[in-house]
């Protein structure tokens, strides 16, 4: 099939710089796209024939719940998606990501799980201060707290216990890696680690969404191997891998992101990440 004859749908919530760059990249490759706003879609689960016209649906929802349902609905329709619903579900829950990294022998951080305030306090004490408490579902650093001492631990655990939502009562306690004021984000597309950035910040959270500065990080064989290993562990496709540099253990995977953001990474690395995404998407059968 020629690229011009492919039918690609992009389902997104908003056209952020990433979606705009992706749409423009498809246009550069002469691949027509149709953009659908997930806020206005209604899916008739008994009749998904509209969606069967597409060769690929590229899901770029900013909402994880919408992303999961859209992916599963496309699976029901028998339409190929990027990424798959398994990747979204595996990356969308930090416990599941950690489970899959450990199962597949990918170096990652030490994590303790607990389900009650009392056991969460014991887990935090066992991990030692400072450590990190994260919600299992969430992104952009939301709800991620550094716990420096027992007072802080009691405050955050009590708060989480008071909050509605069962996921607040799942306690994911992570070691605080002694990282050198930066972490690494690598971009994996299929079997290739195409680029990586350092994210540097004075704050202990180096997320660029929270002000971390992006600069080019060379893709060494070690970085490529661990990044591709992490991507494969969660199901492959197009993902961004967040890593720490531990002074003794080397690279450790922190998280894997299923709907990767790359607006700051294209200028920092000089790599046409959206173009490489398009090349991979159209090459898949």
């Amino acid at each position: 099939m020629s690229l011009q004859n492919m039918k690609i749908a992009i389902i997104c919530s908003l056209v952020r710089p990433e979606e705009k760059q992706l749409i423009e990249a498809f246009a550069r490759y002469n691949v027509p796209t149709e953009v659908h706003d997930d806020r206005s879609l209604i899916f008739d689960l008994d009749n998904l024939s509209f969606w069967k016209q597409y060769d690929v649906v590229v899901e770029r929802c900013v909402s994880q719940s919408r992303a999961q349902y859209v992916q599963r609905i496309m699976k029901l329709a028998g339409v190929r998606t990027v990424n798959t619903n398994e990747v979204i579900e595996n990356c969308g829950d930090k416990f599941i990501t950690t489970q899959l990294l450990l199962q597949n022998g990918v170096p990652t951080t030490k994590v303790l799980m607990a389900f009650t305030p009392e056991s969460a306090m014991q887990a935090i004490e066992q991990m030692g201060y400072p450590c990190v408490l994260k919600p299992v579902v969430g992104s952009w650093g939301r709800g991620v707290v550094r716990v420096n001492d027992r007072d802080a631990a009691e405050a955050v655990v009590n708060l989480r216990d008071e909050l509605g939502g069962y996921q607040q009562h799942v306690y994911y306690v992570q070691e605080l890696v002694k990282k050198p004021g930066r972490d690494i984000r690598s971009f994996v597309i299929g079997d290739e680690c195409v680029a990586a950035i350092y994210r540097t910040s004075q704050h202990w959270i180096t997320n660029t969404h929270l002000g971390g500065k992006a600069s080019n990080c060379p893709v060494t064989p070690e970085l490529a191997k661990i990044s591709i290993g992490a991507a494969k562990a969660v199901g492959g496709g197009i993902v961004a891998v967040d890593l720490f540099e531990d002074p003794e253990r080397g690279l450790l995977v922190n998280e894997v992101n299923h709907t990767m953001e790359f607006r700051n990474s294209v200028p920092a690395t000089g790599v046409d990440i959206p173009g490489k995404m398009v090349e991979w998407i159209v090459a898949q059968k």
Binding site: V62, S139, R142, N257
Partner: protein, 55 residues
């Protein structure tokens, strides 16, 4: 091309035609805006971040 910022009524300038639902920022007040119509360009305040937003 310009459109009125719904927050401060300032002019939001476009160097090139925006896409529908594109996010833009008002240069005068800094508000994050969504392009909700193209001809003519109409802007609305962008949706606020929800609990499950992310990557």
């Amino acid at each position: 091309m310009t459109a009125e910022c719904p927050e401060c009524a300032g002019d939001v300038k476009f160097k090139e035609a925006p896409m529908l639902h594109e996010l833009v920022r008002c240069g005068e007040c800094g508000a994050e805006l969504e392009v909700v119509a193209l001809d003519p360009i109409k802007l609305d305040l962008a949706p606020t971040e929800e609990e499950d937003w992310g990557e």
